[in-house]
Amino acid sequence: MTAETLPPPASTIGPLAWLRANLFSGPVNGLVSVFVAAALVWLALQIGGWATSEARWSVVTENLRIFLIGRYPGDLAWRIWLALAIPSVLAGMSAGVHGRASRMLAVTMSAVQALIAVLIATSPIGPLGVLAYAANAACVWIAFLLGLRGWIPRRALTIAWLVSLPISFLLLAGFEGTPLVSVSTNDWGGLLLTILLATVGIVLSFPLGVLLAVGRRSQLPMVRILSTSYIELIRGVPLVTILFMADLILPLFLPGEWRLDRVARAMGGITLFSAAYVAENVRGGLQAIPSGQVEAAQALGLTGVQTNIHIVLPQALRAVIPANVGLFISLLKDTTLVTIIGLLELLNIGRAVLAQPESLGARMEVYTFIAVVFFVLCYAMSQASYRIERALGVGTR
């Protein structure tokens, strides 16, 4: 009996084994790993070196107020803070009352505002701003704890959400001849305008989109044809052409007395544009409802309208929340296009800052800052939407 001593089996645990399995499983793989790693290190050194020694971040910190709120009067900035406090409190309460899905909204609201507080701390805006946004971020969690107690009726919360947007909007705009001085929308700018355009766009386009989606699946041929043509027309043309139309031609289509300012026109254009995309999302949700639901509703004697309102839409709309968060993200990115019709949203405000003589040659700093802001917002939301998708159990129930 000649027992041959076999070498010990290759280790399958520990960092070395991990390296072998994931980076050096073969000669080609090893070469790729070394090459990619070298490129990454070089890139990190370049960017790190630039960001820590060469870059003049003072361009960003000195102009932070302009980046955040544009030419909105500095002494009225408390109104923005208050306008943000309303949705912060509501988001916190919703998270407490409804749980899971809305919890992501609350986390995002408080994290973004905490981040703004940190940013303000690096700028000459002053400690009051830091305190205000930190307070807002904290408000979310206080409201969350209140919501958990179960004192807040669900219906009241829904109504509060519905009225909160107009209230926040009026708080920002103000009224002529009252203590709440009116602020021209021409002075709105920066991140404030970016977020406002996207939010107003998605909120206003939602009812229109639901109508269009139901219309596209209607049994009435005229309704179907009209809805389908609208959706396909809008989806077939670029957003810039629609913004261009909203800017130049919408005023001609409306009576001369209805003077719409530029921001309102852009909001109109964005709403008409995103309605078509909301409609397609909702249509996807409607198609996912098993036909047994509709048949059961009909068997119970519900009319067509009742079937839609009580049976089909509640299920369909729940299923399309993640898709609509995705739409909100692309809308947030697309608001940069209002630059082309001359509005001062975040990207265009960056150009305005760069036009100042003292920020000469600081292009990379300004654009990097804007890119990071967009990245943080969009990435956070896409992760949130992913979690919501799982929490709602779309496609698994």
Binding site: N22, L23, S33, V36, L248, L252, I340, F375
Partner: protein, 395 residues
């Protein structure tokens, strides 16, 4: 019996509760609302234009444009008409979109494959690239490319060069361009024959197969012939039907070859790297959606790794990939309208100039939207035809 029931229905149900009447009434109401909105807007438009003395019409298209366009695929000068200028813009849009779609597809497939790579580092780098592209606005990327990256390029004298062929500098990208030489027509004929020979050999092969004679060789032969024919034509035509003209540095700039402006190059690169991230995700999703059992079954049958990919995975992934890929192609085409930010004369930029000069925004926007719509519909039609071909017939 049903006829009797229906008659009884007509007798008892009053008209205002009869479903058929209600359906027609509802449609009439909707049409009426839409028509009245349109009429309201048209009336306002009529008064507004009358006040400003603008009018409405397409007659300006025949007038002299009077503005220059920096780059054009067809001969154009400022004395040409507005309609010619519009066509120049349209061709520029189609050009950048077509080149962009080809390059974005190639890069996108590479990104998708990298995302599926077993190499952890490559996989993570590809994921980072996708997230970076998807979570920042395209317009911002274009602005950075055009006003930061391209502005840092060297001047004409110190161009970045690849040999004597390609040059990159502040003014743009210069590449060798083909120009027809002697016997060009003859060579073109050979190329045409090469394109025709592949489907021809397939048709013949199918006929033979239907007749019960396997003819795999014939198909291979067809492909080989298609590859050989242009070479044969090249020799027959006397050796130089197409010569490549290289860009040459003159007194102020390069001349000869293909000159691409910085605007075009920035737009193209921006569109390609942005769309490739989305295409990469589409490709990854498509490949991952092929069931694992398919892969295992194919291996169990003794197919090589290449055959597994080519014959089993890819055909099945393709039918999942094509529909979302279509919408990415449409997005790229529509996004090319951001050319205005980098100064490339596409459809939208020329339309805007036309609208400013003529004071006729509505006809211009109708033309522009109509054109974009036709491009979109044509692209989806083509892709739908292709989609029908790659769909696996379910039995």
């Amino acid at each position: 019996m049903t006829a009797v029931r229906r008659d009884a229905h007509r007798g008892t149900v009053p008209m205002w509760r009869d479903v058929r009447v209600l359906r027609i009434a509802a449609q009439l109401l909707v049409v009426l609302i839409v028509i009245s909105i349109i009429a309201f807007m048209a009336a306002n438009f009529a008064t507004a234009t009358a006040e400003r003395g603008l009018g409405f019409g397409f007659s300006f298209l025949g007038r002299q444009a009077g503005f220059d366009i920096s780059e054009s695929l067809i001969p154009y000068s400022s004395t040409d008409t507005y309609s010619t200028a519009f066509i120049v813009g349209l061709l520029n849009t189609l050009f950048v979109s077509a080149v962009g779609i080809v390059l974005a597809t190639i890069l996108g497939i590479a990104v998708g494959v990298a995302r599926l790579s077993p190499n952890w580092l490559l996989n993570r780098v590809a994921a980072g690239y996708v997230e970076l592209m998807r979570n920042t606005p395209l317009l911002l990327q274009l602005v950075i490319l055009n006003f930061v990256v391209f502005l840092q390029l060297p001047s004409v004298r110190e161009s970045l060069a690849i040999g004597d062929a390609a040059f990159l500098n502040q003014r743009g990208l210069y590449l060798p361009g083909p120009s027809p030489g002697g016997g060009f027509g003859l060579w073109l004929g050979f190329c045409g024959a090469a394109i025709a020979v592949v489907p021809l050999s397939r048709v013949v092969a199918r006929r033979l197969e239907d007749a019960g004679r396997p003819s795999h060789r014939l198909r291979t032969l067809g492909v080989l012939a298609a590859l050989a024919l242009p070479v044969v034509g090249w020799i027959v035509a006397g050796g130089a039907p197409v010569t490549f003209e290289f860009p040459v540095l003159g007194r102020f700039n390069f001349s000869g070859g293909i000159a691409l402006s910085t605007g075009f190059t920035a737009l193209l690169i921006g569109l390609v790297i942005y769309t490739a991230a989305f295409i990469g995700e589409v490709v990854r999703g498509g490949i991952q959606a092929v069931r694992r059992g398919q892969l295992e079954a194919a291996r169990a049958l003794g197919l090589s790794e290449g055959q597994v990919l080519r014959l089993v995975i890819f055909p099945q992934a393709l039918r999942i990939i094509v529909p979302p890929l279509t919408s990415q192609y449409l997005n790229l085409t529509k996004n090319s309208s951001l050319a205005i930010a980098v100064g490339y004369s596409d459809l939208f930029k020329i339309g805007q100039t036309m609208s400013n000069q003529t004071g006729q925004p509505l006809p211009v926007i109708i033309l522009m939207m109509g054109t974009y719509l036709v491009i979109s519909l044509a692209t989806s039609l083509l892709m739908n035809l292709y989609n029908r071909r790659v769909q696996v017939l379910e039995r």
